[in-house]
């Protein structure tokens, strides 16, 4: 193992970054979809939809980079995890199909608009739940034999994976609600504050339950989190959650515009870091490490060049797109 430039480690961080970018960006898109049933007024729904319509496509692209990057940089992990997560993956893809087309279709019809609103909400729920379940299924570990997935096609379904599924739905809901706070005005914004508060409380419940259950999945997780001296570092994670939660509650009470959303993002960063602590250095927990799954240096180096050049450019024009569509979105106020 060459310490000067350890490509698999670099690639693990690149993919972690892509997945996180996806979770954050599509998280609030999907979150808005999850909140759709609770906002039946047409004008409210138009605002919610319009607040993400110009950027959702870019947001979803991070999922393709996460999946495609895994395929390219850690093909063995990709080829083990995808069959292991077959049903949740297919469900997620179909959910994203329903959600994605609803963005375009609902403007093209008045007769079937309700149908596409349902598709938007249901697709978002299916996709979010499936992603959470997939996360739980990866954490609890999958059966591997001879470079292949060796389990059944229902192995992913456990109480733990359902718990992570529901928790992620709640988390996305929080991102969606705080995004809405930032992008809306008036009574819609007021309701978004209420939802943010309840979803934050629910998310803490989910986070607590997942955190308590995880160390019992694998002995290694327990050691990683609770053995001395690890605990001196890992105990920072729950502390950070408490601090951010207090700040978030205060920002909601003070009716801040931007802070709730960005503090919710910080909450996701902390959770994600916790996930990293549990998984490192495995890409398929407890059976395949990032070094075992890594594509040859020649593949990883070739792509690293592309990433180094393109990611800064991508971030720049993504920021530009967000900047163009910045500020509050209002219903039915056009230019003409």
């Amino acid at each position: 193992m060459n310490l000067a430039i350890d490509l698999p480690v670099i690639w693990a961080f690149i993919i972690a970054f892509a997945v996180f970018a996806y979770v954050v960006m599509d998280g609030f898109d999907l979150g808005l979809g999850l909140l759709f049933p609770f906002f039946p007024r047409r004008e409210d729904r138009n605002v919610m939809m319009n607040s993400v319509a110009p950027v959702w496509d870019g947001n979803e692209t991070w999922l393709v980079l996460g999946g495609g990057g895994l395929f390219a940089a850690f093909p063995l992990a990709y080829s083990i995890l995808m069959p292991a997560l077959y049903t949740p993956m297919i469900a997620m893809l179909l959910g994203l199909v329903l959600r994605g087309v609803a963005f375009e279709f609902r403007w093209r019809t008045t007769a079937e608009r309700n149908l596409w609103d349902i598709a938007f909400a249901a697709g978002s729920l299916i996709a979010a739940l499936a992603q959470g379940i997939a996360l739980g299924a990866i954490l609890q570990g999958v059966a591997v034999a001879e470079r292949q997935y060796a389990g059944g096609w229902w192995d992913w379904l456990t109480p733990f994976s359902l718990l992570t599924g529901v928790s992620l739905v709640i988390g996305y809901g929080l991102l969606g609600a705080t995004w809405l706070v930032m992008k809306s005005t008036g009574s819609l914004r007021e309701r978004a504050y209420t939802f943010s508060w309840w979803l934050l409380v629910a998310m803490l419940g989910g986070l607590g339950a997942v955190s308590l259950a995880t160390p019992f999945l694998q002995a290694e997780y327990w050691r990683r989190w609770f053995e001395w001296p690890n605990i001196a570092f890992t105990s920072v994670v729950p502390l950070a959650v408490v601090v951010v939660t207090i700040l978030l509650l205060r920002s909601l009470a003070e009716r801040q515009d931007y802070r709730p959303f960005f503090l919710s993002l910080v909450l996701f960063v902390i959770t994600y870091a916790g996930l990293g602590i549990s998984m490192w250095p495995y890409v398929v927990p407890q059976s395949v490490t990032i070094w075992q799954a890594a594509a040859p240096e020649k593949s990883q180096l070739f792509m690293l060049f592309g990433v180094a050049v393109m990611i800064p450019i991508i971030l720049a024009y993504t920021a530009f797109a967000y900047w163009v569509f910045r500020g509050k979105v209002e219903a039915e106020t056009g230019y003409h």
Binding site: G68, F71, A72, E104, W107, R147, F302, M310, Y335, H336
Partner: protein
């Protein structure tokens, strides 16, 4: 064993089904993105409002087609892993980076500028908006570059070594990306996308000319589309011929199936126009042939010998009937496109281009021809690659995921139900938009229902507070 076989067959059906739905949309949006860029450029250059109206007319259609292309494309990106995990493991070090480059250089570019292109006309200047349109168009072409490189590598693998675990490892990226069939396939496919779009635009124009041949928008789009059909079809036929010769060099078995040559012809092979390929008996029944014409086309010599499938072990045969017929459908449609293009030039010269109902009906009937030809062409090249995923090196049956047949059955059913419902509705909305005649002061996409009592100019349901940000 039988169950394993069934799961592979089901996985193939699923891939073919989801791919068939997917490829329809990029075939259209690659061409349409370029067309939109041309329209906007013409508007900026000439200032004629008809170009802006046409831009907005087709932009609405583009947004729907592009959305469907994106969501069906994400499915494809994950299906390598879910259904073809052994393929993914073996080819990941080579195919993976090509697809990663597609995401990095194309998908983000398209997605990043799509929002500005669709909704940003009033928010950024004209120049910047045109730049966004241009980036989306360039993005679709870059995307075609990488995905066709990956596909071509599966057809004509090059620049690799094979590891002890059976993984394909990169030896030369240049040879991998520019593998032998790639340049031909790229040109052939991009031209196919342009022609497909031209035929759709032409059909929409013809439809409205048949009702009112003084509609300026309809006249302009019809004329532009027919120029494309007339100019690009001959180039496409030439490109297809070159692609065929390249296939003969690198994948002769595919050409044998395309030509329906079950037997070898040592002194000049006939061109089988039609016939019934009989895979089990290994012969062409009821063949209508032109003697020695196949050798003339493929070898440029009447008496050149051509090998047949009798020189190939049966376990390496593709499904001949499928390849044979798909090829004839593609070529037949190509000939019809050429006739349309030549006919349109003739009527231009005669001065009845905008009046001839015959031309307009012909163009209308040819509207879907590009899609059918693209699907037929892909059937030829993909079915003709069988029974391998990586030609000659990795068999399809050895590429699939270790999945039980019921899992794949269920997902296949789910895809079938969702796709048929969703994409049928999407195509219906597109046809609905095309059925409306182009008119002056065309509205853009994402228009909500009219807010004015008059109700003709829906407004974008969006506005911004551009003043300084203020936290209460």
């Amino acid at each position: 064993m039988f169950e394993a076989l069934d799961a592979v067959v089901l996985a193939r059906v699923q891939f073919a089904f989801t791919m068939t739905f997917h490829i329809v949309f990029p075939s259209f949006t690659i061409g349409l993105a370029s067309y939109l860029a041309v329209l906007e450029a013409l508007w900026l250059w000439t200032g004629r409002s008809v170009f802006l109206d046409l831009f907005k007319y087709w932009l609405k259609i583009f947004s729907i087609a592009f959305g469907m292309g994106v969501v069906s494309g994400v499915v494809m990106a994950y299906q390598f892993g879910t259904n073809w995990s052994v393929f993914a493991d073996r080819t990941g070090p080579i195919i993976g980076p090509l697809m990663a480059y597609e995401v990095l250089t194309a998908f983000f570019l398209e997605a990043g500028f799509l929002g500005v292109m669709l909704f940003g006309m009033n928010r950024v200047g004209k120049g910047l908006h045109f730049f966004a349109t241009l980036m989306v168009a360039v993005g679709t072409l870059i995307s075609a570059f990488w995905i066709l490189s990956a596909n071509s590598w599966m057809q004509t693998p090059a620049g690799y070594t094979i590891s002890a675990e059976g993984q394909f490892l990169p030896a030369s990226w240049w040879e991998i990306v520019f593998n032998p069939s790639f340049p031909y396939r790229l040109v052939h496919m991009v031209l196919a996308a342009y022609l497909t779009t031209a035929l759709v635009v032409g059909a929409a124009g013809a439809f409205h000319l048949l009702r009112d041949n003084r509609n300026e928008g309809a006249r302009v789009m019809f004329s532009m589309a027919m120029w494309m059909a007339a100019l690009v079809t001959p180039v496409q036929i030439l490109a297809g011929d070159q692609h065929g010769l390249n296939t003969l060099e690198h994948q002769p078995v595919k050409v044998m199936a395309m030509e329906g040559h079950f037997t070898s012809h040592p002194d000049g092979a006939p061109l089988v126009l039609f016939g019934l390929p009989d895979q089990t008996r290994g012969e062409m029944r009821y063949a209508i042939e032109i003697p020695k014409a196949s050798s003339l086309i493929l070898k440029h010599s009447l008496d050149a010998p051509l090998n047949g499938l009798d020189t190939v072990p049966r376990e390496n045969w593709p499904h001949v009937g499928l390849v044979f017929w798909a090829f004839r459908i593609m070529v037949g449609l190509g000939v019809l496109m050429l006739v349309l293009g030549v006919f349109s030039l003739f009527l231009r010269w005669r001065g009845t281009f905008y009046e001839s109902k015959l031309l307009h009906r012909f163009a209308l009937a040819m509207g879907p021809a590009g899609f059918v030809a693209v699907l037929a062409g892909w059937t030829v090249t993909e079915t003709g690659r069988q029974p391998f995923t990586v030609y000659g090196l990795l068999r399809t049956i050895d590429s699939a995921s270790p999945l039980a047949a019921p899992a794949v059955t269920m997902s296949l059913l789910a895809f079938a139900v969702v796709y048929v419902l969703v994409f049928a509705m999407g195509i219906y909305y597109i046809l609905h938009l095309m059925a409306a005649p182009p008119h002056a002061d065309e509205e853009g996409p994402a228009a909500d229902e009219p807010t004015h009592a008059a109700g003709i100019t829906p407004v974008p349901a969006m506005a911004t507070v551009t003043g300084p940000k203020r936290e209460p």
